[in-house]
């Protein structure tokens, strides 16, 4: 398809000079235009591609994504609760090319960091001056014995990537008898969306309260306590769903049996009618292609947090859930990584110093019922040598309310528009 960077350099005969001064080489044909390739059109990648074009109109941007549609994890718990359907959380990519982004429907399978080329499953070689990896998470299905088999048999899903598994879990809940038990497991942190499991418990409880009021929820938490917004969720469980949610801390799932319909912890085998096991996670597989999963567990990627450039691979930036930091793994935060990263790349390609004091913010709403939500919000300022430092007054609401539910709905519409249009 496109001329790759190496070939372009050969053709132009400018190899050495271009390699020495990144920003000179291009795959687009006009030698002056730098080329940035972004891998993954989720919250982080799509936003980064858009802002690269906005702030760097002279930069060519290629965005590689295998999926036809963007299915949002935010509000996917609302689908389980019956507040939204799959169509409501599914959006097209059709407005991104309007920003001058070249969309490539493909999956990256190899990266040559020295030659600065990515290779796709479809056989394309695409050269870059700078590369952005925004692949989200890989779910470690091997860490829970029996999960893969139960998943393949359609018995147990994680639904921690929104899509067919979300719809499947909703169907399982609809088919569950009144008086049945929904068992959900939460992985040890860090995982995608700290409050997500507890919001899910609220949304499932909301549905069961109306449709199957004799049912129970058992929440097996691999953590010693509720990881995020504890007062908010405890208040919701006690107020709206008294007696329905059985919360068990320090109950990491070790095995799942889709035949017997049990989740086993180190203490006991917990039986349920619907099992929702969320295994541990790590940075998306594409990060491993450049050795960027370089934290002490070889799970997440360490980056220069002022530019999001990988500490393992030069000219490769990593944003979103794949990054190891004190910042929460949220879609909102991924859009903020994306903006800081885009700004840094624009400056670097222009030979300027990136903003030394970037600021990012997180806002994460969680619904606690069909008409109430609460939030956690923080601003983080970068300080050299320290990373992102949380500004004073950040924090979470202790109680959900109707006003925040309307803001939650508005937030979803606005962030989808911010990412995709």
């Amino acid at each position: 398809m496109t001329i790759n960077r190496r070939d372009f350099l050969k053709i132009s005969g400018a190899g050495a000079a271009a390699a020495a001064f990144s920003g000179c080489a291009s795959v687009s044909g006009s030698a002056a235009r730098p080329h940035v390739v972004v891998v993954g059109a989720g919250f982080g990648g799509a936003t980064c591609a858009k802002y690269l074009r906005k702030w760097g109109p002279d930069i060519d941007v290629t965005l590689i994504e295998p999926n036809d549609k963007f299915v949002s994890c935010p509000l996917s718990n609302w689908v389980l609760g019956g507040l939204r359907n799959m169509d409501d959380i599914t959006h097209g990519y059709d407005r991104l090319p309007g920003h001058g982004i070249k969309m490539v429907k493909d999956y990256v399978v190899a990266i040559d960091v020295d030659k600065r080329v990515v290779k796709t499953q479809g056989g394309a070689s695409i050269g870059y001056d700078r590369l952005v990896l925004a692949p989200g998470i890989e779910i470690l299905t091997d860490t829970v014995r029996g999960f893969k088999e139960a998943e393949a048999a359609g018995k147990v899903v994680h639904a921690w990537k929104a899509g067919p598994q979300t719809a499947h879990l909703r169907k399982q809940l609809e088919a569950m008898p009144d008086g049945g038990t929904f068992v959900m497991s939460v992985p040890a942190a860090p995982y995608r969306c700290p409050p997500g499991p507890y919001e899910r418990a609220c949304m499932v409880a909301h549905y069961l309260k109306q449709a199957k009021p004799k049912s129970k929820i058992i929440l097996l938490d691999g953590n010693p306590d509720i990881v995020s917004k504890k007062p908010l969720f405890m208040d919701a469980w006690n107020t709206f769903y008294p007696g329905m949610v059985d919360y068990r801390p320090n109950n990491a799932p070790l095995a799942v049996d889709g035949g017997k319909m049990t989740v086993s912890t180190e203490f006991d085998d917990v039986k349920g009618d619907v099992l929702n096991v969320v295994p541990k996670q790590r940075a998306g597989a594409v990060c491993d292609l450049v050795g960027a999963r370089n934290d002490s567990n070889k799970a997440w990627c360490t980056v220069n947090l002022a530019t999001f450039e990988s500490t393992a691979a030069p000219n490769v930036h990593i944003i979103g859930d794949s990054v190891l930091s004190n910042l929460p793994k949220s879609g909102h935060m991924a859009t903020n990584h994306a903006k800081v990263c885009a700004a840094a790349i624009v400056e670097l390609l222009a030979g300027r110093q990136p903003d030394p004091i970037p600021v990012v913010a997180n806002t994460c709403y969680s619904a606690t019922s069909g008409s109430t939500s609460g939030y956690v919000a923080n601003v983080f300022r970068y300080e050299a040598g320290k990373g992102y430092v949380s500004a004073p007054e950040g924090g979470a609401t202790p109680k959900g309310d109707e006003l925040n539910f309307t803001y939650n709905e508005s937030w979803a519409k606005n962030i989808w528009a911010e990412v995709l249009s």
Partner: protein
């Protein structure tokens, strides 16, 4: 207005004229863009969250000051307002006032 703000604003005026990003205003554009994850692309919101595009600069500055001080009731904005310096608020106010 302190020197830093003036520099940021000077950069911003440059942007408005040329339509291109310049080094001086990148910080302002970057922090203003973080608002857009809630307030919508270009500061144009759908639904209950207010739009920021085209807000009067003084109104924006006063709102943020009042959120910070706690003299204006807010659900979430006190937590955000506290994260920005006065100079940054001024610069963001000028930026959003310029958006249509």
């Amino acid at each position: 207005m302190n020197r830093k703000t003036t520099l940021v604003l000077a950069g911003f005026v440059g942007l408005a004229v040329s339509g291109l990003a310049s080094a001086a205003d990148m910080h302002t554009q970057s922090i203003a863009s973080t608002c857009m994850s809630c307030h919508g692309p270009g500061g144009k919101s759908q639904g209950a969250i207010p739009s920021l595009a085209g807000l009067e600069k003084d109104y924006f500055v006063k709102s943020m000051k009042d959120f910070k001080a706690g003299t204006r009731a807010a659900s979430i904005m006190k937590r955000h307002a506290n994260g920005y310096t006065d100079a940054e608020v001024e610069a963001m106010a000028a930026y959003f006032a310029s958006l249509k």
